[in-house]
């Protein structure tokens, strides 16, 4: 059970070369309840990756406070980066097991490989994989650590539509088997509606929350593209400013 309370007063990148200092995030406040699937929708370059890096503890250089409430233990974070970030000199299976601390049950990895249809490729080196396969490996790695919080940074970008749909369904299947809090960054509104419990719309930098909307479509009906499209049209009609964020 993991809730997240994010309160970032500001995150500034210092000047580099001729580029002046740049304020990426300003007064960003949001709260996530346990096991919630949240999609962050915002224009490219608005600071979404920066936000995920801050939550993951990779970027401590900001003003504000991130509280991850997991009860007593330190939360485990799974992070699916925008690029798969696999070690090219380790096999698919090694890439996954290396992320696991100490002893682990090989069955868990087997099951995940099976669900993601990568059992055949488990002893292959990543350079032989297609981009879609590499992305699936990085998703398995994030799930294998049994995370309390899962951060996903546009994991399906540059995949063709059928592959993206397939991996999306596999992701939902995994998440429903073992629910945890998910923060999913995208600028594809259809994808966001198909996945999320709640959508958060983010402004261009300095990033802040512009609005939030709960998705009223039942989980079982998310695969129905007509419903997703109808809700998207409704959203765009009600909030035309969303168009500027996509």
């Amino acid at each position: 059970m993991t809730a997240i309370a994010i309160d970032i007063h500001s995150k500034t990148y210092s000047a580099q070369g001729t580029a002046p200092a740049h304020r990426a995030i300003a007064n960003l406040k949001l709260t996530l309840t346990s096991n919630e699937f949240i999609c962050l929708v915002g224009p490219s370059g608005c600071g979404k990756t920066t936000l995920l890096n801050i939550i993951a503890g990779l970027d401590p250089d900001f003003k504000g406070d991130i509280r991850l409430e997991t009860g007593h233990k330190k939360p485990v974070i799974g992070y699916v980066f925008q690029n798969p970030r696999l070690l090219p000199w380790r096999t698919v299976r090694e890439n996954i097991t290396l992320a696991l601390a100490g002893e682990h049950a090989p069955e868990t990895v087997d099951a995940l490989l099976d669900i993601m249809q990568l059992t055949q490729a488990q002893h292959v080196y990543p350079e032989r994989l297609s981009l879609g396969m590499s992305r699936r490996v990085s998703i398995i790695r994030a799930f294998a650590v049994n995370p309390d919080i899962l951060l996903m940074d546009e994991p399906f970008v540059s995949l063709d539509a059928p592959t993206a749909r397939q991996v999306r369904n596999l992701l939902l299947e995994l998440w429903q088997r073992r629910p945890h809090t998910v923060l999913f960054v995208t600028h594809d509104l259809r994808e966001a509606i198909a996945l999320a419990d709640r959508l958060l719309f983010l402004s261009p930098s300095p990033m802040t929350v512009m609005g939030e909307i709960s998705v009223p479509i039942a989980r079982a009906e998310r695969n129905d593209e007509a419903q997703v499209e109808a809700f998207r049209q409704k959203l765009l009609a009600h909030y035309p400013e969303i168009k500027t964020l996509l």
Partner: protein
Amino acid sequence: MRLLQNRYRLQLLNALSLLLLLGLWQFLAFYLNSNTLPTPAVVAKVFWQETVSGQLPYHLGITLFRLVVSFTIAMLLGCALGIVLGCNKALDAFFDNWLVIFLNIPALVAIILCYVWFGLVESAAILAVVINKLPNVVVTVREGTRTLDQDLLEMARCYHFGRRKTFIHVVWPQLHPFLMAATRSGLALIWKIILVVELLGRSQGMGYQLHLFFQLFDVAGILAYTLAFVAVIQLIELVILKPLDKKAQRWRR
């Protein structure tokens, strides 16, 4: 099948080129008919005599021992320093001038100074070789460390790899090409320096023997020892370095 044929063809070409070199040598020696360029047969005879008498294996062994010791020290120390300097900007800025100075000290100066300061002893000889090679390794490994993939390091941090796991699985494989470059250039550099070290201040080893042959104007002896040493270095390349490289690069498409 075609690949196999190609490989045989390449090997044949290799053998032919060596034969051509030998032929050229034979022709020149025959044409000049001088003591300063003996024929391959004469050199082979000297090689055999020196091997049977035990002189060549003895001196070659001593030189190889010095090579292994100085190479190991230079590589281990160089890797450690290179990684530290590559990771730490302040230290790097501080020691950068030192590196440039040491890189540009002529080998001969380092050797003479070591002998003058520490005497004509084994450790001075080894130290002189290490001083010549060390800056080279440090610079190569430092450049390698600077180009480490930050994305992969972040990934390792995010998944709590810890220092040991990060070093073995993330850092070391990325440094491998740089280490191989340092090893290869190191071997070539070190054995040439060792000969000078031996020539100037030791009474055994290849350098000492070459000096002796020089005084006697014995070119056949010089060539026999040189060929023996080149063969040993080739063997190291074939038996140790190539397989190591192949194993480390197996993940490439």
